[in-house]
């Protein structure tokens, strides 16, 4: 893939696309470091959605009038654009629009899991799963009598691949793993995990919510059977997520939600289903959001995903070093390097993460504090909560310096 030296970003120009970054609270400009929760939306994405509502708005796949035709074409084209972006050679038939990553997980868990799993089957997860997959597969396993196993993490916050080889057996029906941990920042070897799963005849579901926004992702290079991510974490709108699935699998699967738009033929007695991907998209879908997602992909690709990645890694490394130099900050996850993404989870000794986040908010520094939807992982780390700074294309080193100032302030207050 890329070399490190891919050129720096024109941050000033990028920032001018995000008016929200100009906002001030108590005369201090906002420092937005909560990008792993949701990223900000650039003007071209907002404009694309506004223009859609202003000039194109109509329901899709219904009317034969001009507006409906244009809306349908825009909505369908967004599927093609996503397929191209993640390397899905099957095109739109392999790209299902959902509400978010969580719904993508649930779609597979209900449609495939409920029908295919039973006693004796194993679902293999990692200890760093987000609740989106952990809770979903845990509950589907309860329902079906399948067993859930967790691949352990080592003390650096990486997956223990020897344990992965032990966990994944011929009884494994599916592996579900995060591509990038939202808590540790670990970039998991998902192609290797998938290869192990396939050797045992198991499927592989990769949660890419924290990966697609900030690095080039090729689902066919990973060979994932399913791959999921959300629009709002990649400069796109809320309300839209993606489920990629291999065409043959999606064809074999039953619908997850029923209703209009997903049918071929309906009688009072029975129904048959529409072609992919519409079979999995009942009801009026997120049309403006699909238009926005396409605009977000255009925006990111214009910058270049390799440069997005390099910028984030550079900021993460800088933040890691600054936090480490503080001496009393515990940082979670691997050291900076190719298997660490642009987010840093940490705790300041003697100050609870929630207090820390409140004091940071005084400095108008926005970070996340809490369990980040990974409660079992926090149990394992032995903390109730952590603070997390996460970066995107518009963040700067100066903003990380402000984060450090806030930490110094908190330390002083609680001394």
């Amino acid at each position: 893939m890329s070399q490190r030296n891919v050129g720096t970003l024109d941050i000033e120009r990028i920032r001018s696309d995000f008016p929200i970054l100009e906002r001030e609270f108590d005369d201090q400009q906002v420092v937005y470091l909560d990008n792993a929760a949701t990223t900000q939306t650039p003007d071209p994405v907002i404009d694309a959605m506004s223009d859609y509502y202003r000039y194109t708005n109509s329901n899709v796949h219904r009317g034969i009038h001009h507006l409906s035709q244009e809306a349908s074409e825009a909505y369908e084209r967004a599927h093609d654009r996503v397929a191209e972006f993640i390397g899905a050679s099957g095109g739109r038939e392999e790209v299902i629009f959902t509400k978010n990553t969580t719904e993508s997980e649930n779609l597979v868990a209900y449609s495939w899991g409920l029908n295919e799993l039973g006693p004796g089957d194993e679902v293999v997860l990692t200890e760093m799963e987000h609740h989106a997959s952990l809770v979903t597969w845990q509950q589907i396993a309860h329902e079906t009598g399948a067993e859930v196993k967790y691949i352990q993490i080592d003390e650096d916050g990486r997956l223990d691949m020897d344990h992965a080889r032990e966990c994944i057996t011929d009884d494994t029906a599916i592996l579900s793993a995060v591509h990038v941990s939202n808590t540790l920042g670990t970039v998991n070897p998902v192609a290797k995990l998938t290869e192990i799963a396939h050797k045992h005849g198991a499927l592989s579901f990769i949660d890419g919510a924290q990966a697609v926004p900030n690095r080039p992702v090729d689902v066919e290079e990973i060979d994932a059977d399913f791959y999921a991510f959300s629009g709002h974490k990649m400069a796109g709108p809320t309300g839209i997520g993606v489920l990629y699935g291999k065409k043959q699998l999606l064809e074999e699967m039953e619908p997850y939600l029923y209703g209009g738009g997903m049918i071929r033929k309906v009688t009072f007695e029975d129904s048959t289903w529409a072609d992919l991907p519409w079979k999995f998209e009942p009801g009026t879908p997120p049309i403006a959001e699909a238009v926005g997602l396409e605009a977000a992909i255009d925006y990111l690709e214009e910058i270049g995903m390799e440069r997005v990645q390099a910028h984030e890694e550079e900021l993460a490394e800088y933040a890691y070093e600054q936090l480490k130099a503080e001496g009393d900050v515990e940082i979670y996850g691997p050291e900076p390097g190719p298997d660490r993404s642009g987010l840093v989870g940490f705790n300041l000794e003697s100050v609870h993460a929630h207090d820390l986040a409140s004091i940071m908010n005084d400095h108008t520094v926005a970070v996340r504090a809490g369990d980040h939807c990974t409660q079992p992982l926090h149990d394992k780390l032995g903390v109730a909560a952590s603070a997390r700074a996460s970066f995107y294309v518009y963040n700067t080193r100066e903003e990380i310096d402000k984060l450090i100032d806030a930490i110094d302030d908190a330390r002083q207050l609680f001394a």
Binding site: H352, S358, I359, N361, D362, G370, Q375, A384
Partner: protein
């Protein structure tokens, strides 16, 4: 400066750093554990009643948490001594905010009321009005 540093006035920090009535009572009339799932904090409140089975004699609390929840528990434990169970059950979030004497930002209000909620739920369970082993601020 914004609301946050106002939240950490001297009194709050003092109670956080030197909590009053911290620990467990030897023979509590009732004891209850509750959590604030938003931050994962858990608090145990031990209550000892007078012989009239109505008046609160001692309160102790234990558990880890943020400055707001810990200071609130510390202050509440002192305030409750001498009050009746009915008076405890009548308390609401305004009483807690008044007690803390600082503005609490909306995102932190659950931290502030955790101790009150745990004490009230413990009292309700003691009176047989609630049947639950562990409660949460989300209830």
């Amino acid at each position: 400066m914004g609301m946050g540093s106002d939240m950490y006035r001297q009194q709050i920090l003092d109670h956080y750093k030197s909590p009053r009535n911290y620990g467990e009572l030897e023979d509590p009339t009732f004891t209850h554990v509750g959590e604030n799932p938003m931050c994962g904090d858990e608090i145990q409140m031990d209550v000892k009643l007078e012989d009239d089975e109505e008046t609160i004699k001692h309160v102790a609390f234990s558990g880890d948490g943020c400055a707001i929840s810990q200071a609130s528990a510390s202050m509440l434990s002192g305030k409750l001594a001498g009050k009746t169970i009915d008076e405890l059950l009548e308390m609401d979030r305004d009483d807690i905010v008044d007690m803390l004497g600082v503005e609490i930002s909306p995102m932190r209000i659950k931290c502030a009321v955790l101790a009150e909620k745990v004490a009230q739920d413990g009292a309700k369970i003691y009176r047989g009005e609630l049947d639950k082993s562990k409660t949460s601020t989300e209830d």
